[in-house]
Amino acid sequence: MANEPHAAYKNPFLPWLLLLPTLVILVVFLYWPTIDTFRLSLYRVAFLGLKKTFVGLANYREIFTNPEYLRIFWNTAVFSAAVVFFSMAVGLFLSVLVNQKIGGKRFYRLFLIWPYALSPAVAGVIFLFLFNPQAGIVNYFLDTLFKVRPDWLTEPILAMSVLILAAVWKNVGYNVVFYVAGLQNLPGEVLEAALIDGASPWQRFWHVTFPLLAPMTLFLLVMNTIYAFFDAFPFVDLLTKGGPNGATNILIYNIYRDGFEFFKTGLAAAQSVVLFIAVVLLTIVQLRWGERRTHLGG
């Protein structure tokens, strides 16, 4: 066996030794906390773990029967679906625009990517200022132009819209980066052939460009879903704190709140597990569905 041509290491322990630093980091910072979260979700925990009692699946029963939590699931679904759809659609649209041979396209690209470079906290504060009902610039213009001053964060639907807008605005740049890269790597001859065949720009996009971008779309679908589920915390915390009356309370925010503000660590752990499973399932579905419709690396 030692003479096998593919064996790069003679000592069987050496590869493990080289992997050790990575494994240690993975175990300490990822696997162990994950396992501990699963374990904690079966306990009623007081004071971040100073006291705990085993309660079996009671935390899960609470999550799946309490209307408050069911509403949080619904909010999370609405928020995530809207954020994923709009940030990808807008990202793709803008990428196609800046991929044309136009003057100053480098500047357009730079400015489109810029919001992505901001930290979510800064983006949240910017939107808080913009949509302040009394002193915000949005209402200043709306008042001057149309004589209306909506209470952006007091109406449930408006509050959710502002939240989605902020999250989309922040993430469009990420999608632009990948879509522009994807567009530039498209095989030119196919598009040229379509052009010669007399396809309209609309047809060229939907029948040639979009299908060819499918692997990129699939990748971004997974990444955007993860973003919508896990990275929206600062927007909720800064803009609405889950209000009005829980209308913008989404799972990732509620986990923080239950865990660190209300000291219900067991319940928070159970919600983390639910979120974890939901994202894993969604990713599997997306990849399965994608495999049939795209030719990854083909």
Binding site: R44, V45, A46, F47, L48, G49, L50, K51, T53, E68, L128, N132, P133, Q134, A135, D151, W152, L153, T154, P156, A159, L239, T240, K241, G243, P244, N245, G246, R257, F260, E261, F262, F263, K264
Partner: protein
């Protein structure tokens, strides 16, 4: 040989230096910005005058962050000596079991300091007859108003509204004369609701506000609550009340008032210094008055808000004594005077008040006076003593959600009934989790 003697001599000199190593004390607090620096200056003064002790003050984020950090560090066996904990975290801190009841450890010759606290403060922090922590930063809600707008609206700038009805009337006048776009603002925060409940002499929880025994029932659908919500809802519907839409948005309400979008604001007395500066910068005259209360009820007074300083368990005796020395120095008469002048938080010792009186501080600074008079006028009873509830942070969110639901049109009775059931459930679960 000579050289050896020299070395030996130096070594001998060095020994006492090692023997008298300083006792190191850590102090975690929740004051950012300018107040971090203010606290640091006081700590430096202490270290300079107490050569045997070295206190290290650290800013740990919000009240909640500080409490979380303290509990986690205690779990790992390495807690700081002194932790600042917000008033509604008192029951939680007691239940966590990581602190010592401080009164038992105060040396006999310093016990006099515990007898010096002004009554409302002593009432809040003395739990079952004993100080479990050292009261520090204390505040109340008061009314701030813009005298310039009041004059424009034809209102008496020296006579701010004192009741809900008077606020409503003033608002009608301000709206009619278009003196300001909105009439009044305050953060959508449960703290104000709790204060208005206390002003009516009503309780927030059973077992005498959780003071006689552990609370097992929260009173959210009480008559006192309904009176508050009815007025608040009417103020909101008529467009008199303004807030940013975000719950607990202190800065947002300050911004509305300071930018003169509203004629009045109800907020903490700890903002007096900030408000005076802001009024000067924005060119309006500032007035302060008592917290307006429901019509037809006797004014009972406000509950002390703020935070106190707790001493953690499991430290060597020497460190514990040093930490206490610092705590009692940090909150002594002259330092309380200094703290009050620098921040607007109350001087919580009677002797500090005497010093301030002797300096004619309150006559020279009338804005601070309204705040302090209101506190001193509070009656000492179970209502103004404030409720002790373990899951207070969660109950606050439940109350805030109810207010927002009422704004959206949910009938007041129904919203309060639902909130009451939620709060009782939260309390039940908390009590079960601490094994009580």
């Amino acid at each position: 040989m000579k050289r050896w003697l020299l070395v030996a001599g130096l070594a001998a000199l060095a020994v006492p230096a090692f023997a008298a190593e300083k006792v190191k004390i850590t102090f975690w607090h929740a004051f950012g910005g300018g107040r971090t620096a203010f606290i640091q200056r006081m700590v430096d003064d202490f270290n300079y005058t107490h050569p045997g002790i070295e206190v290290k003050a650290e800013y740990k984020g919000s009240y909640r962050d500080t409490l979380n950090a303290a509990i986690l560090s205690a779990r790992q066996g390495n807690p700081p000596h002194i932790v600042q904990i917000f008033e509604v975290g008192s029951q939680l801190a007691l239940d966590s079991g990581i602190f010592v009841p401080i009164e038992d450890f105060v040396p006999a010759d310093l016990k006099f300091q515990l007898a010096d606290y002004i009554k409302p403060v002593a009432n809040y922090y003395r739990i079952k007859g004993k100080f479990n922590s050292i009261p520090w930063n204390s505040s109340n809600p008061i009314l701030y108003y813009n005298k310039t707008i009041f004059k424009k609206a034809g209102l008496d700038p020296e006579n701010p509204p004192k009741t809900f009805g008077e606020v409503m009337k003033a608002c009608e006048k301000i709206a009619a004369t278009k003196a300001a776009p909105k009439c009044i603002t305050w953060p959508l925060h449960s703290w104000f609701v709790e204060q208005w409940v206390a002003e009516q002499g009503a309780l927030l929880a059973n077992n005498e506000n959780g003071r006689a025994a552990r609370a097992t029932d929260v009173f959210i659908d009480s008559e006192a609550m309904k009176r508050i919500m009815k007025w608040w809802k009417a103020m909101y519907d008529k467009g008199y009340y303004a807030y940013t839409g975000k719950p607990e948005d202190w800065d947002g309400s300050n911004q509305i008032f300071v930018s003169q979008q509203a004629a009045m604001e109800i907020t903490s007395t700890s903002d007096v210094t900030f408000m005076q500066n802001a009024a000067f910068e924005n060119g309006f005259e500032l007035g302060t008055g008592f917290l307006p209360i429901p019509d037809g009820v006797e004014r009972n007074g406000t509950v002390v808000g703020g935070a106190s300083l707790w001493l953690t368990k499991a430290h060597p005796k020497k460190e514990q004594e040093a930490a206490l020395t610092f705590l009692l120095w940090f909150t002594n008469t002259e330092n309380m005077v200094r703290w009050h002048k620098g921040t607007g938080y109350f001087p919580v010792l009677n002797t500090s008040v005497k010093v301030l009186d002797w300096q004619h501080w309150f006559t020279r600074n009338p804005a601070y006076k309204a705040a302090f008079d209101q506190l001193l006028a509070s009656k000492a009873n179970r209502a103004t003593q404030g409720a002790l509830i373990g899951p207070f942070p969660e109950i606050r969110t439940i109350i805030e959600n109810a207010v927002q639901a009422i704004f959206q049109g949910k009938p007041i009775d129904q919203a309060l009934k639902e909130a009451d059931a939620q709060a009782d459930k939260a309390l039940r679960e908390y009590n079960a989790s601490v094994g009580k």
